[in-house]
Each structure stands twice: as C-alpha cells, then as structure tokens.
Symmetry: C2
Subunit: 334 residues, 2 copies
C-alpha cells in the first residue's frame, strides 16, 4: 500500500484539519498515512475521529517549523541530522524509504529548504521548483515556478520545463503536453532578458515548446505547462487570487445593493456561484508538487482545511502510483 | 482652451471610433481636438457626425504606424524629422506647443519610441514608463511600468515611483499617495534581485513608500501607486484581464447550463453583472499615461471604442489642466 507522510503541524489551524484530512483520505483512498507531529496534540483529535482499523500511524516529532523560521537558523534546522521538527522527520521517512511522499501545509520556504538539504537535488537540477495547478477555461494548467526561486537563470527555466512536462504527462494524464514560456507578448523576441535567453534552451530541451504565452493563453488553457521564474509566477498566483476575490465580492455587493428582483436573482443563482467558487478553489487540487528534489514533496496552502488536506493526500498518492519521480529522473539524463 | 491632438488612425477599427470619440469629447468637455490622420478617411466620418461649430480640426497625416512597424525601421520613422505618420505628426504638434497632449489607441511600442525620440526624456528619467489605472476594491491604483521596459534597473523603479506619485496626486487627486513595490511577499528582504536593490532607493526618493506589496494589496486598493518592472507589470495586466474574462464566462456558462430557476436568476441579476463589467472595463479610464517624456502622451487599448476614445480625451484634458507635467519635472529635480 502506498504510504504518505503527512505533516500534522502544517496548516494554520494545525493539527485539526491535518489530522481530520488524514482520516478522510485513509477512509476514501487506498493509502496508509504516517501522521508526523506532536503525538500529545495529535492523539486526542485522531481518537475523536474513531479511526478504528484505518491504516494511520502517528510518528512523534516534538518540534515544528513556523513562519518565523528563516535565514541561517532555518538552514541549520534543515541540515541537522537530529532535527526533530515535523518537516525534517517527515522528509527523513521519505529519504529512508519508509514513506513514498511527504505532504505539508506549512511554511513553503521551510519545506523547500528542508527538502533541498534532506532529500537533495536530482542530477541535472540546479533549483527545485514549485508547480501550481491553475484553473483555466479548459481545465488546468501547471504554472512553475510559483515562488521557490525569485531569481532564475535561463537553464533553470529549461529544467522546469522538462520536469513540468513529465509531471503533466504522468500525473495529470496529458499526452505530449504543450509548454509555453510566460512573457509580455507572444512573439519571439518579446520578453525580458531571462525570457529571451531561455527561448533557445526551451526549444532544444525536448519538450513540446510552443513559444511565448501571455495571460490569455495560460488562463485560456492553450498550454498545459506555463514556465516562468518564481518571482513572476508568485506575482501571477497572488494577483489571480486577488482578482477572483475582488470579482466575487463585487458580484455579492451588486446583488446585495440591487433591487428586490436582483436580490431574488442572486438567491436563484447561488448554486451556480457556489460551483464557480469550487472551480476556482485551490483546495480542490490540494497541494503543489515540489519538483527537482530526490523524493516526492507536496506543499499545500496554510489555509488548507480538512478537504484540502484530503485532496493533497490524493494528489500525492496518485503521483506515487504514476511513477513520476523515476520518469523525471530519466528525463533529466542528458 | 486646452488642445488635444488625437491619433485618428490609432484604434483597431480606425478611424471611425477615433473620430466619433473626438466628436463626443468636443461636445461634452471644454476641449479643442486636433484630429491627426488621413483626411480623406477622416472627413466623411466627421461630416456624418454633423460637428457644426465644434472645435475640431483635421491635421493631415498621410501615413500611419501599425503593429508591423518594429525594429530599426520603426526607430527610423520615429526619429526622422519628415515622418508623416499620424503619431509623428501628432507628437510634433505637442513638441511645437500647438497641442497640449497627444492621445493614441495605436501600437504601444511605436508610440513609446516615437515619444522617446520626438519629445525626448525628462531630465532625471532613463526610461519613460506606462502607467495603467487598475480597478481595485476601493477605487483605482496606478500600476507602472506595464510594458514599456521589460528589463529595469533599481533606479528606474525609483524614477517610476516619483512620477507615479506625482500623477496620483495631481491628476487622480490622492493626497500623499501610498507607494508600494510589487513583490513575492510583503516582508522586506523578499523579492528578486531587482526588488531587493530597489527598496533602499524607494525609501529615499521622497515618496510615501509603504514597502513590498502583493496582489491582495494592489487589487485590494491598499496602495495608490504600485511599482514594478515592465515585464512583471505587463504579465499582471494580461493575467488580470484573462482571469476577469474567465470568471465572467464561467458565470454565464453556469447560468446557461443551470435549471430554469437559475436561468431566471441570471436574467434578474443581469443589470448587476453589467455594472460589474463596466467597473472592470479598461475603457472607463480611457488610456494610460506615458510618463517621463517631455510632453503628455496617453496610450489607449487597440480595442478602444468611441466611449474609450472620449474617456481618453477627458483623462488627457484633466492631466493638462492639473499641470502634472511641470510638477513631475519639478519633482525630478535633485
């Protein structure tokens, strides 16, 4: 049975959503969960869920990393072999073959650096990157990097393209995924220095590269994988979330401040708006894969609720089942 | 009376929306319009609008710049003193004091480079920049640069901040405008190399700098001016447009594919959705100011209709009336 190590101390409301999400996943999917965190906090919540014979084990980790962990102190905790925080303990389970993947809704930077030092990078990867699954007009598009690497070199983008393309094919089931390079204009020659220099590398790296893309191609679902540096990717992600929120708030306000007929209309379309919200809800996709480290790691939003945790476990489980890590390793061989 | 030179050959559907927009503006605002373009095309459309004694004059310019004008050939046309395209002729009117501002819905790159060579840069400005007016939860925020300069140095961002701040104060009427630097994280120290190096310059350049901002602060209206390089700004602009379109399309689809009650609800909220669309409609703000050249230039969307052209003329007229160009010049003095 596939084994997923879950950071029980990850979400903003830890450990409740994390533990309940683990129980939901163990009930629904064919998966064993290793709940990593402070057992004194985890056990009562787990017991209240009446897990019975569900394949869930608690692995004690007395410490945790928070948003306050940064800089040299964080690097120290990430590197030290005796670190007892839930990320270090959980990733060691992956490293030692006791778990097939690690899932956390904790601090992205802390997860990235812990994975970097504990799991190590894959051969051929300078910078591991986070791949977000964006909702589009046609389904979903992988956008990477979305924040792990604010400063990138052209060869980083080519590595992202290779890894993202394999992920789209193996885990998302897209045949011969179309890869685009995010730019300020579709024509070749447009773009900043990084984009212009990355273009020839993307053409030659063996992916199905279709050229520069703008927002309308990414959000319109024209490409399956959209490549960018972590600064731009993160700005896109945050702006998209903010625009969606603004629009939905404005619709609500327009309905509330409308006349009685508009208010009735608002009530009638509520189910339609709800389905829209679900469509745009990042918790549906659960977590973003961190690609380029020697192990499968998924990082979810701090705001993850139990459904988001459950979905993150499903995504991690499916990634393990697909053999994507070996495929990425093979693809990175020159 | 304030005189605005309008590129009659600018919009995708030129010259009809441009000419009709000019007539609407001349009727509604206290402004004289110099319609610059091919008089053989302009005159019949103008006559059909029965302009009577409206203060509109046609300035003949037999050529025009299109999306195909680029590279060295474009630079040649931008620089040559005898160029007879509508942008060159229109900007010369500004240069010679025959018009107070130039408005075009044509090729942004062509307008930028024509302004760069014909009007010249202001002292203290290395790169003129385009400032977009973004709709936000609280009103509007100026985002600059949105595409003129894909590669920027830290000092460019400080210059943008000074110019954007003066524009917000003089033209948009914001007292002591809050200026933010777009980044992948609010904390100081986050960001790519450009952002990190620009931070001390923004602190010292005399604007009301509040630090790094993310999408939620920009779209939430926390800042009045959001500074970024032209690559990131353009990606934000295009992504925002695409997300808005996706959401509105999805709402329409959800209503169309809903049951009869949802369909009735959709009809009832139609006026509310329409007002939402207007709120997000870039044509309401008409055109983006190009700041840093020695003259007022406004660049509108190629898709501009007559309302957008009219609004662009209003924005240009108000900018002239505010004396913003002199204020920017004074502010740039060391």
């Amino acid at each position: 049975m596939i084994k997923i190590a879950l950071d029980a101390m990850g979400s903003d409301e830890y450990p409740t959503p994390d533990v309940i999400g683990a129980v939901l996943a163990a009930r629904e999917y064919d998966v064993e969960i290793l709940l990593v965190g402070d057992e004194a906090l985890i056990n009562p919540i787990l017991a209240a869920q009446k897990p019975g014979n569900l394949p869930i084990r608690v692995i004690h980790a007395p410490e945790m990393l928070t948003m306050n962990d940064k800089g040299d102190a964080l690097v120290f905790k990430a590197r030290h072999k005796d670190s007892k925080n839930s990320m270090a303990v959980g990733m060691d389970l992956v490293k030692n073959g006791e778990a097939d993947a690690f899932v956390t809704a904790g601090n992205t930077g802390a997860a990235w650096i812990t994975a970097f030092f504990r799991l190590g990078r894959l051969k051929g990867v300078s910078k591991p990157a986070l791949a977000a699954i964006f909702p589009t007009a046609k389904g979903h598009t992988i956008v990477m990097d979305i924040g792990a690497n604010p400063d990138c070199e052209p060869e980083n983008l080519a590595q992202f393209a290779k890894m993202g393309s394999v992920y789209a094919e193996k885990v998302r089931g897209v045949k011969n995924p179309k890869v685009g390079l995010i730019s300020n204009g579709e024509e070749e020659g447009k773009g900043n220095k990084l984009v212009r220099e990355a273009t020839p590398l993307l053409k030659e790296c063996g992916v199905n590269f279709i050229g520069n893309v703008e927002g309308k191609e990414v959000i319109g679902g024209v490409v399956d994988v959209a490549i960018t540096d972590g600064f731009t990717g993160n700005v896109i992600l945050k702006t998209s979330e903010a625009i969606s929120k603004l629009l939905i708030d404005k619709i609500k306000t327009a309905i509330k401040s409308g006349n009685i007929l508009v208010k009735i209309g608002g009530l009638l379309i509520k189910p339609a708006l709800k389905s829209l919200k679900e469509l745009l809800d990042p918790s549906q996709e659960g977590a973003a894969p961190l690609l380029g480290v020697n192990g499968l790691v998924f990082i979810g939003h701090g705001r993850s609720d139990e459904q988001a945790i459950k979905n993150a476990i499903r995504v991690a489980r499916n990634a393990v089942a697909s053999g994507v890590l070996d495929s990425i390793k093979n693809n990175l061989q020159p």
